[in-house]
Symmetry: C2
Subunit: 173 residues, 2 copies
């Protein structure tokens, strides 16, 4: 999909599955702390706590993939958020299919309706806030007739499922 | 409301109305590019383009309020996103009621169901990305029986309205 359309899928604030890989290890984590920073090239700010195994892989590789699951994948999303990749192969445990990406070593997740391959472009706020600035270098999305039903974390295992779409006359991008 | 609960309202990714004030000018802008950065004290990363009048007021005052509207306020949200506070008093034009905040000079918006008073705590990424790190110093929320129906920007005047809530067993905060 065109890089210029990435914001339309991330701006609504869905829970994402962030994949990372370094040497012979890959991991996937559940993540809600992200925001668009620029349209094109798409830049994303993303917080990955240094207590997470994904932090180690992201820091070492400088790459990741942001995958967007639908409500169908909610059990896997919660499962990935409740264990550590240090001890568990989460792809195997939760039946997630890793596909090779084109521009980074971190894998795409076949079950997700969109995947954005990212490179870390700014680490100035990593030391203090674990906040990475990512550039999306390649974007994939499954063509669909209806918008996918995304999930949005309300905390403590509660999720809002995306509802209907409304349209208003607007000049906003 | 307790500062430790701020993340539960921002993490799902709603469109917010950001208010700012400096000297005798106040403004309100529509904003979707924000993410939690820490739980407590709540830190929020927030992108305000330097083309916006709110950038000038935020930079000069170091303060703002993040107000969360419901679907009822969607017309005002779009209105505020389609004109500039340089030329228009948006509170007056869109019938938004400014209330005094307790810890900052930027006003609360009475019509919004939650308002978070913020101070700018880190400007290192402002020069390059217009990204501010804010600390929430006071949080207000209207008590409700049901979760408010928030709106989430899909781009070009389309908004997803928050749908039903699902719960899964989780140890995630």
């Amino acid at each position: 999909m065109p890089l210029a359309r990435v914001y339309a899928l991330l701006e609504p604030g869905p829970v994402v599955l962030l994949t990372t890989a370094y040497r012979n290890r890959a991991n996937v984590m559940t993540q809600s702390w992200h925001t668009m920073v620029d349209f094109e090239p798409p830049l994303v700010a993303c917080v990955v706590s240094d207590r997470n195994y994904s932090f180690t892989l992201l820091r070492a590789s400088g790459e990741c993939v942001i995958n967007i699951p639908s409500v169908r994948e909610a059990p896997q999303v919660v499962g990935c958020g409740n264990c550590s990749g240090r001890r568990v192969d989460k792809f195997k445990r939760f039946g997630l299919t890793a596909l090779p990406a084109s521009r980074v070593r971190a894998p795409l997740i076949a079950e997700c309706h969109a995947s954005f391959e990212c490179r870390v472009v700014d680490t100035r706020l990593v030391g203090k806030y674990d906040l990475f600035i990512l550039e999306v270098v390649k974007a994939w999305a499954t063509p669909r007739r209806k918008p996918p039903r995304t999930i949005h974390h309300l905390g403590s295992g509660s999720f809002m499922v995306s509802g209907k779409t409304i349209r208003l006359p607007s000049r906003m991008r």
